[in-house]
Amino acid sequence: MNYEPIYKNIRTISERGAVYSAIETILEALYKKGADINTVIETEIPNTLVRPLKQALQRLPDTSLKTIQTYMEGLSKQLAILRTLSLEIAFDPTEETVTVLIAWVREFLGNDIIMEFSVDRGLFGGARVAYEGRYKEINLATLIEKTMQNQQETIDTMLENISV
């Protein structure tokens, strides 16, 4: 089954969490007496997910409860294997920033990737990136510290000359 139309709309870990809870709501409603799936999707699920979910269900070969259940369980499994890129930055990212970043990341790494944002106000001019166990800190403060360490002797000499 094709889950891409759904997961390509998921950009972050928190959005994935929202889809998980939507899947749970749908699975719970499936065998409830008198529950209509379309009504459940329209009333109990966040707006952003309503259209893609409805479209996905329409594309299913039949609308039996069993098929919907299989689709939802498959989607849940697919979400679990999405790769994550963690980014630690010094500010709360805006919607626009998130969109730009995810588009850029997906261009290089593929559509099955989502991002995890965290904020560390102590970061100065840079970010910390973690992806598939690899870690990189690109940070102006660290660069300055490193340069100061490497150039310690030169700086000391310069300071001595100034004081003389």
Binding site: G122, A130, E132, G133, R134, Y135, E137
Partner: protein, 484 residues
């Protein structure tokens, strides 16, 4: 964020995330290049090490007192799990990670570090056990002698005097110039304190290192304790010292290994112990022995302890350990109840290397007593059916009783080998013929006290025992000089 943690992240360029925790086990996603037994640091500042790998996760054992939360970051340290080793450790009580446990003592941590898991030295680096390991316990030194570099299992029920025996052995060996290491595996703080007090009272604590894993420590800490102790022993061996190490006890270590393995969902084997149970202990035991070092032959004498429930030494862990050591001393609960101290059963104890290095006279005594005590045991069975005692039987039974009185020692009594030989001769020559056991016991103690207090008496006995070149000669000499 913890500076050390950040520094590790930046240096190795790798990060992991705790995805699942089960007690001390933390399953980590990420850390693509991590190696087995590598030390890892959790974001909370606690350490752990890599225990195994699953298809998509790294199984780590954390040293944290509380379970780690999921989502926590983990950094590699790019070094094996290691502990600080050096002369500074002498007279210290440390935890298995090398941190001092007593805060009231000023201490500088040694600069050198050693990985706690190391390959045992190959056969070409080993030498035959040549020197006796004097314990100061008569029944051991005469009947089940130990050698320096021997792995001798101490097996027996709870509360049968094992710790007292071990402490006296360590004290004796330290007085002979060795370094002592006492590893406690999951013992109560009270017991560890008593061990520390005993060693301090004997005035040897400055040559001892106690590696203490308390019963309430995390399973990971308890599990590494014997390896940490052995690593320290290896350091001192390489520094040119003979070392004696006590691991009290290996059965608790086996239980910890079982706990961690079952939590890690390894297939359980006999008694639910994992399949690598034998390997873990055998690899540890192989690190002890008599070694050829640049400073000459140096030994690590290892005394692991196994608690055998109800004196049953046929259990899985006791039989495993018996097969990987060079002999065992069996502490018999029935003998303990009968008042024998130490309650070592010489007939159920074995030494595989000790007899070859036993001094000739002690060896003769050993052979003589083995024969005598077993026939006396048979006689005892006969007499229990109500057979009449003739003079010969009476003498044999009295001699047997006196021999056991001679083997009895007080809780902190250490007897020097010449004194042991001298006392044996007195008993064998029937010095106290017809005397009640209380009198014999009193007289034996009196000779022991005089030997310690009176230097001229001590000198005379030492001369006497060195002068004789056979047991018969010694018996004759002692007979002649009974009024020393």
């Amino acid at each position: 964020m913890n500076d050390e943690f950040t520094s590790y992240l930046n240096t190795t360029g790798e990060v992991g995330y705790v995805r699942r925790t089960i007690s001390s086990l933390a399953y980590v996603e990420g850390l693509p290049s991590v190696r087995p037994y590598e030390r890892v640091m959790f974001e909370t500042g606690t350490y752990g090490y890599v225990n195994a790998f699953t298809e998509d996760m790294v199984e780590t054992i954390s040293f944290s007192d509380v379970p780690l939360p999921a989502g926590l970051r983990v950094a590699r340290t790019n070094e094996q799990l290691s502990i600080p080793v050096g002369e500074e450790l002498l007279g210290m009580m440390i935890d298995p990670l090398g941190r001092p446990l007593r805060q009231d003592i000023s201490w500088v941590s040694p600069k050198t570090r050693r990985a706690i898991d190391s390959e045992p030295l190959p056969i070409r680096a080993r030498a035959r056990v040549k020197e006796p390991c004097i314990t100061g316990i008569t029944v051991t030194d005469i009947m089940v002698p130990l050698g320096k570099g021997q792995r001798a299992l101490v097996v027996g029920d709870q509360k049968t005097g094992k710790t007292s025996f071990l402490l006296r052995t360590i004290i004796s060996q330290i007085r002979e110039g060795s370094i002592g290491i006492y590893v406690t595996v999951g013992k109560s703080k009270l017991v560890i304190r008593q061990i520390e007090d005993e060693l301090t009272k004997a005035g040897v604590f400055d040559r001892v290192i106690i590696v203490a894993a308390y019963a309430d420590d995390p399973a990971g800490i308890i599990h590494v304790a014997p390896f940490a102790g052995m690593t320290i022993a290896e350091y001192f061996r390489d520094a040119g010292e003979d070392v004696i190490i006590v691991i009290d006890d290996l059965s608790m270590h086996a239980k910890m290994h079982r706990e961690l393995s079952l939590l890690g969902r390894r297939a359980p084997g006999r008694n639910s112990y994992p399949g690598d149970m034998f390997y873990i202990h055998a690899r540890l035991m192989e690190r002890a022995g008599n070694f050829i070092t640049p400073a000459g032959e140096r030994s690590i004498t290892c005394l692991p302890v196994i608690e055998a429930a109800h004196g049953d030494i046929t259990g899985y862990i006791p039989t495993n350990t018996i097969s990987m050591t060079d002999g065992h001393l069996f502490f018999d609960y029935n003998l303990y109840v009968a008042g024998r101290r130490p309650a070592i059963n010489p007939f159920l104890s074995v030494t595989r290397v000790g007899k070859q290095i036993q001094p000739p006279i002690a060896k003769e005594i050993n052979q003589l007593l083995t024969g005598f005590l077993s026939s006396a045991r048979q006689l005892e069975t006969v007499t229990s059916f109500g057979a009449e005692f003739n003079e010969q039987l009476k003498t044999a039974m009295e001699k047997q009783r006196n021999i056991y009185l001679f083997f009895n020692q007080l809780a902190n009594e250490i007897l020097a080998p010449p004194l042991q030989l001298y006392l044996f001769c007195l008993v064998w020559n029937q010095q106290w013929k017809g005397a009640p056991s209380e009198k014999v016991e009193k007289e034996l103690r009196a000779v022991g006290t005089r030997y310690t207090a009176d230097s001229s008496f001590r000198k005379e006995i030492n001369t006497l025992t060195t002068k004789a070149n056979s047991l018969d000669a010694l018996l004759a000499l002692v007979q002649k000089n009974t009024k020393l």
